[in-house]
Each structure stands twice: as C-alpha cells, then as structure tokens.
C-alpha cells in the first residue's frame, strides 16, 4: 500500500513538474509562435532574447532589490530590442523568409558572444520574493511542492488567458489575427501593417525577456540556456502549430510532460521522448496540432 502511494506521489510530482516546465516553455514559445504566425519570420535569436532579458532583469533586480522590477525590465528591454530589430533589420527583407532566418542566426551568434563577454560564464540565481519562497502543501495529497514553481504555472495560465483575450477581444488583436490569416488583405483594408508587425514583435520579444526572468528564477541563468529555450520553442511550435496561442499551450504542456516523464522514468533517454512526440505529430499532422494551412 505504501509502495503504491509512493509511486502515485512520484507520478503526480512528475505531472506537476512537467506542467511547470511546460508553463515556462509556453511563455517562451508563445512569442516565437506569434511572430512566426504573423510575419513568417523564424526568429532563431528568440532564445538569445530569453537569456538577455533574464540577465538584464537580474541586474535590475540586484540594483533595485525588487524582483518585480526585474520582471518588468526583462519584458521592457526585450520589447524595445524586438522593435529595433524589426524596424532596422527584418523590415528591410520582408517576405524573404530564408534570409530573415539566416540573419536571425547571425544575430543569435553575436548576442551569445556579447552576453558571454558581459556576464561571463557563471550562472546567476535570482533572489525570489519571500512570498513565493518555500513549499506549499497541496491539500488531499499531502504533497509538498515549491511555491515558486506553482507561481510559474499560475503566471503562464494568467499570461495565456491575457494573450488570448488580447488576441480575441481587442482591435489590435483582431488585426494580428487577420494578419496571420491573410497579410495582403489586411494591408489592402487600410491598416498600417508595419505598426501591427512592430507591436507583435515587441510583444513576442518582450514575452521572451519576461520568461527569461521567470525561468531564470526557477532554474538559473547561464550560457547555453539560450539554445535550450530556442530548441524548446522550436519543438513546441512544431508540435503545437505555428501562430496559434492555444497550439503553443498544448505543445508546451506535451513537451514539458514528455521531458519530465523521460527524466523520472528513464533518465538517459529523456530527450528521445520529446523527439518522439515531435516525430509522431509530424507524421500525423505535418502542420502541428492546432496548425492550419
């Protein structure tokens, strides 16, 4: 009986861990997916935006002593960088997908080296606010779980709902959705597409920066994390479908769960689970679970 209870607990813990990781992946990948869906722009520097936002948020949080300000700084700094990249570089090559992708690879290489230069190879750990520190006992199960991880899960849900409302209930959101479906038609109906692009890019990049601080607090910030989250974003949008927030949420949850179940039940082959999910989805639905063509 005790053994059974123990394995049930392990199972639930794995589910929770998977969902938390999925929540983090969702925060990063939703921006990636949104930018791709609207602009056909595969921004392979998205992982770099995650890490850079995290570092900047860390510096701000250290100097002001406020974690919340750090989160805001992570979002704001990357939103601004996103607009700058969009206006200065990507706008000049609209419609040339491949060139945009190559350029974003160049940017990610430069940013990675720049961050190594400024912040070095150490890993950084945020000081989490007291309110989120410690463990919470989940009622009924008697399961103890870190409060901060639950906060990550909650914030992803809140941001996900916020994003959904923004896209489905506001005028700008309507424009973005229209742009995803038919960019030419949106332009023809007299809407400043460049402005919509800039806003989307700012939002997508800002979300990456925000995720950098939130994810950096859950785990840590170190060189190489940029690639990890870039890969996560890639797999999440391949699985979930491009340009769909719901798809990103489903994809992120699936990948997070696959990752954690792999880690718990067969540690050496954890990556294979993630990979298998991707291959199966591609075989059944090449455009992703929520993707349309």
């Amino acid at each position: 009986m005790r053994e059974v209870l123990k394995s049930v607990k392990l199972f639930l813990l794995t589910v929770l861990n998977g969902l938390t990781l999925g929540a983090l992946y969702f925060l990063v990948a939703s921006g990636f997916s949104l930018v791709f869906g609207l602009m056909r722009n595969v921004n392979l520097a998205h992982g770099s935006l995650y890490l850079l936002g995290g570092y900047i948020g860390f510096d701000v949080a250290e100097s002001t002593g406020s974690w919340t300000l750090g989160v805001a700084a992570g979002f704001a700094s990357m939103a601004i960088l996103g607009v700058v990249l969009q206006v200065l570089i990507f706008r000049r090559m609209q419609g040339e997908d491949l060139r945009q992708t190559l350029v974003s690879i160049g940017i990610s290489i430069i940013l990675a080296d720049f961050m190594l230069w400024i912040w070095g190879g150490d890993s950084y750990q945020f000081i989490i606010p007291d309110a989120l520190f410690g463990a919470v006992t989940i009622p009924l199960l008697g399961l103890k779980y870190p409060a901060y991880k639950l906060f990550v899960l909650l914030s992803a849900v809140v941001i996900g709902i916020g994003l959904w409302l923004f896209l489905n209930r506001t005028r700008i959101g309507m424009m973005i959705r229209a742009g995803v479906d038919d960019r030419g038609m949106l332009q023809a109906s007299g809407i400043n597409v460049n402005l919509v692009f800039a806003i989307t890019f700012a939002l997508g990049a800002g979300l990456a920066g925000l995720a950098g601080v939130i994810g950096g607090s859950a785990l840590s910030l170190a060189p190489g994390e940029d690639l990890r989250y870039l890969l996560a974003s890639l797999v999440v949008v391949i699985v979930g479908g491009m340009g769909s927030v719901t798809g990103a949420a489903i994809g992120a949850a699936l990948i997070g769960l696959a990752d954690q179940f792999g880690l718990t039940y067969s540690p050496t082959y954890g990556v294979i689970y993630t990979f298998l999910v991707m291959v199966i989805v591609l075989a059944v639905r090449p455009t992703g679970i929520m993707g349309r063509k």
Partner: protein, 340 residues
C-alpha cells in the same frame, strides 16, 4: 568562357562527358603544389581542415542550392559517420568493436547515409523554414542524446585515438599524406557534385526547387526526389565526417553541438550557396578567420567576428562571396566597354 572538353568512353549516346573550365585546372594545380610552399600548420590546420569542412558544407550546398532544402543537420550526419568509425573500429579506450578498417569505413558511411535518409524522410513533410527548424531540432536532439548515452556513444567524453589505417606503409596522419587524402576526397566530391548538376536527377531536383507543384503535375515524385537528395548529400557529409574524425583524432558531443551545426551553414552561406566552389571558398575564409581572429581582435571574440561577417554577407550579398565576385565582374565588364 571557353571550355576545354574531355570525352571519356565511347562517343555518342551514353558517353560521360567531363568538362573543365581553365580556372578549375589552375585551382587543381594550385592544390597539388600548395603543400610544397607551406609549413605543417598551413598544410593541415588550414589546408586539410578547409577541404574537409568544405566537403561537409558541399553536402549542404547540394541540398540547398539544387534542392532548395536548407538542412542544419549535415554536421549531425558527418558526426554519425565519425561516431561509427569509433564504435565499429579501434579507439584508445578500447570501447569499439575493433573491426578492420575495410569494414569500418564503408559501414560508417553506410549507416550515416541511412541516417541522412531517415532525416530526409522525417523532414520531407515540411518545407522552407520549417525544414530548417526540424533539422535543427533533430540535430540538437541527437547532440543531447550522445551527451547522455554512455552505453553506445560514451556520453560527454566520446572517443579518442581514432586514426586512419596504415595503408601501403604510409602514416596517413602525417601532414603531407593527410593533406593529399583530404584533397582527393574534396576534389572528387566537388567533381561529382558539379557533374550531378547536369544529370537527369540533378535537373529534376532543380526543377522541383523552382516549382514543386508543376513537377508534381508533370508526374514527378517530389517526395522521393527530396529524400534521395538527402541521401546523396548524406553520403558526401558522411565521407567528410570520416575524414574529419581522422583529422581531429577524436569525437565527442562537442563535435556535433549547435555551434558546429550552424558553422556548416555559415560556411556555405559565406562562400555562396548556389555553386559547389562556394562551399570550399567559405570554408577557407571560415578557417582563416578562426585561426587568425586572435591577431585581429581578442581571442575570445571569434564568434562575434564570424557572426558579424556572416550577418554582413547575408544582409548585403545573399549569394555570398561568389555573389560579390559576380557583381564585381559584371560591373568591371560594363565599364571598360567604351575603351574597347
């Protein structure tokens, strides 16, 4: 441009025609005499390394330039060939199966080519930028797998002490023989790819690149052509991979990390992705920057330098250095016309 033509075999139907441009013969001659005017560092570190990286980049050029398929997993295929050399053959930790080289080398190339075919079958369902994403995801997943798998791939440590077999009593590890071995591999690969451009398969692949829907309507099986292109490019990458593992003497997950996957793309793009020679041109530039960045700027900032070079080339000349050369040629050709 005048072409000197050589015909081998029976003239007429089915004859294999090899065509050389004069500059190609000059280049071949230069490659042959190069080691006599260079020290060991320039023969191996610059010469052989450029030729081998160029060969792996050539496999990407073949896919991207002729097939319109940008695959980031070409270094992964090369890495699989390298790993197989270690796993099937002899290494310094005695972890491998220790089979003789004449089984190991074809075996490694075969397995890597099969892996490339498999990657092709997975990624063929996607197009354009999706292909980049999925091949990158495959490459990174394999990197993490090798890193964690100790049973077969010996995890983080990988394998060491891998060297070419002592054939004909020659130590193929010493600079001159290794350079010539690399040169022969590179020249043959280059010649095969150049020839491929004009074969039926090569032409239909290029037609598929330009208009897959029309080719499908004409009755061509687009999927099979694309998978076959992956397999053929995989074969070239695999041969390059076997040579690279002998060059390095070791293989570990670091060989196939994201940085190295992307380096192959950088090499092909810097040189110019539309012509086979671009891959080698890019490799020379890349290797030179890699070795002499220390003299130009701080040793640590190599990535930033190569990143900027890449960015500038992508921003200003989508066809790479070859594109710049073509532009320059057409510009200088137009101007002196009045004087003639």
């Amino acid at each position: 441009m005048p072409l000197s033509q050589f015909e081998s075999g029976a003239a007429g139907k089915g004859a294999i025609r090899l065509e050389f441009a004069p500059w190609q013969l000059v280049l071949l001659l230069l490659l042959i005499v190069y080691p006599f005017g260079a020290n060991d560092f320039f023969i191996v570190q610059i010469g052989a390394q450029s030729l081998l990286l160029g060969t792996v980049a050539l496999s990407l050029m073949l896919l991207a330039g002729y097939g319109g398929i940008v695959s980031l997993s070409q270094m992964t295929v090369a890495g699989i060939a390298g790993y197989m050399v270690a796993i099937l053959g002899v290494d310094s930790y005695n972890l491998g199966l220790g089979w003789p080289w004449w089984v190991v080398v074809p075996g490694a190339i075969l397995i890597a080519t099969l892996a490339a075919t498999l990657i092709g079958m997975i990624s063929v369902r996607t197009e354009g930028i999706y292909t980049i994403m999925i091949t990158l995801a495959i490459g990174v997943a394999f990197y993490y797998f090798c890193n964690q798998n100790y049973a077969i791939f010996n995890g983080f440590t990988g394998f060491a002490g891998l060297k070419p077999p002592p054939l004909f009593g020659i130590d193929w590890r010493s600079p001159m023989p290794f350079y010539y071995l690399s040169m022969v591999v590179a020249v043959v690969a280059y010649a095969v790819v150049s020839y491929f451009e004009r074969t039926t398969f090569g032409l239909s692949l290029q037609a598929i690149r330009d208009n897959p829907r029309r080719m499908e309507a004409l009755g061509y099986n687009v999927t099979v052509h694309r998978v076959a292109a992956h397999a053929f490019a995989g074969l070239i990458a695999a041969i390059g991979g076997v040579m690279l593992v002998w060059y390095n003497g070791r293989i570990s997950p670091g060989t196939i990390n994201v940085g190295n996957l992307i380096n192959i793309l950088i090499i092909a793009v810097i040189g110019g992705i539309r012509k086979p020679i671009g891959a080698y041109l890019g490799a020379i530039v890349f290797v030179l920057i890699g070795n002499f960045a220390i003299d130009l700027i701080d040793r640590e900032r190599f990535n930033m330098l190569i990143g900027f070079c890449f960015l500038i080339i992508v921003l200003f000349s989508p066809d790479g250095l070859l594109g710049l050369w073509e532009k320059f040629k057409s510009m200088s050709r137009r101007e002196p016309k009045d004087e003639w």
